[in-house]
Symmetry: C2
Subunit: 206 residues, 2 copies
Amino acid sequence: MVKVPKQVDHAARRAEIAEALTRLTATRGLEGVSLRHVAAEAGMSMGLVQHYFKTKDEMLLFAVERRSQVYEEGIKARLESGELPSTPKAILRAIMTEILPLDESGRGNWLMGVAFFIRAVSDPSFAAAYTEGVPQLFELFALLIRQGQEAGDVDKSADPMHESAILWALADSQGTNIVMKHRTPDEVLSTVDYYLDRLFGSAPAG
Amino acid sequence: MVKVPKQVDHAARRAEIAEALTRLTATRGLEGVSLRHVAAEAGMSMGLVQHYFKTKDEMLLFAVERRSQVYEEGIKARLESGELPSTPKAILRAIMTEILPLDESGRGNWLMGVAFFIRAVSDPSFAAAYTEGVPQLFELFALLIRQGQEAGDVDKSADPMHESAILWALADSQGTNIVMKHRTPDEVLSTVDYYLDRLFGSAPAG
DNA sequence: TCGTTTACAATGCGATCGCATCGTAATAGC
DNA sequence: GCTATTACGATGCGATCGCATTGTAAACGA
């Protein structure tokens, strides 16, 4: 009963489509994202896109989850490259620089996230997926700050929860600032470093 | 040549429509915003909406500019109510609490802003209008922080530009957190106060 | 080889979009 | 009263959307 004709790497095809979607989001903005446009950007027929994603929502969900994976892998790669010390401060900085839309592909990923947020506002299933990863990142931030406190780098009077919120806000909002060209990536990074230096005193980050 | 039949308060009508648009954005999300839906929400015919706004973009632009005015007036009202001291810290807090989507109407206004941001990504004319007010608020933040430094409340080592960026980020991102129900208004306000207390030492805010 | 299953293309359908057009009612100046 | 102008409603048009349907080529299992 197991017939396997014309074997094609499903995952690779889906990734292709997701990347076309991301590219399209970065260049044409979020309104240019239709099944037809994505297909054209990916250089395939619309029917083929439909073959790999039954609905548009399924495609968006896949692209966003893929985005999260890419972020995660990027952060791991930075930390395991050995170029950075494994201090909480360095890890936090690695996360920030990975997430922020510092280049063109980052811009696409960022706008993908915004598009997803838009959907999540009125669509419960999207909201669930959107909400999923947030507390984890939040907790991670707080954990790293607490480790900084235990190491004596972060002042005991600092509140890890509030500081996490500020850090999250910095990533969230400054990314938007870059996309809108209100601030340059350099300016944003310097503000991030300013904040981290204040929080961690003068403890080395790398 | 000046014939004025059926005199109708144009501004009031446009405000009505803008409020229907905001209401619709808050409840149905940003995708429910079409000329037909706005007309239905406002309880008028679609032709009438078209009569007051030649294009959809004109309607959106009006609604967003109106939003800015409402914010501005709200902040002025708070400051002139006499319930708050005119310290930089109090003014900053007033701005934050005015902008943040703490209630249902605030939610609508917030989502309006996001919708506008989306358009601004790919539409230059929207981008211009969106970019317009940002540097001013930024400069205001920096000015107030500098005043705090001159008054001796804010540490001299604090960088007004970076601190402004953090403050802006707090407003920007935490608003989204409230809309997505990741954090409650109370939690957000406590983080704002935490930050302001840190920045202004223990100087009184009210 | 034959049949089943998958990969992919092409097209059509109903819904909805923004916008234009047309018609009508009401009110001003002449 | 007549006319110009405005307020407002109704409808239609072309474009585009997501999605369903259909057709065809290819490749595996039997």
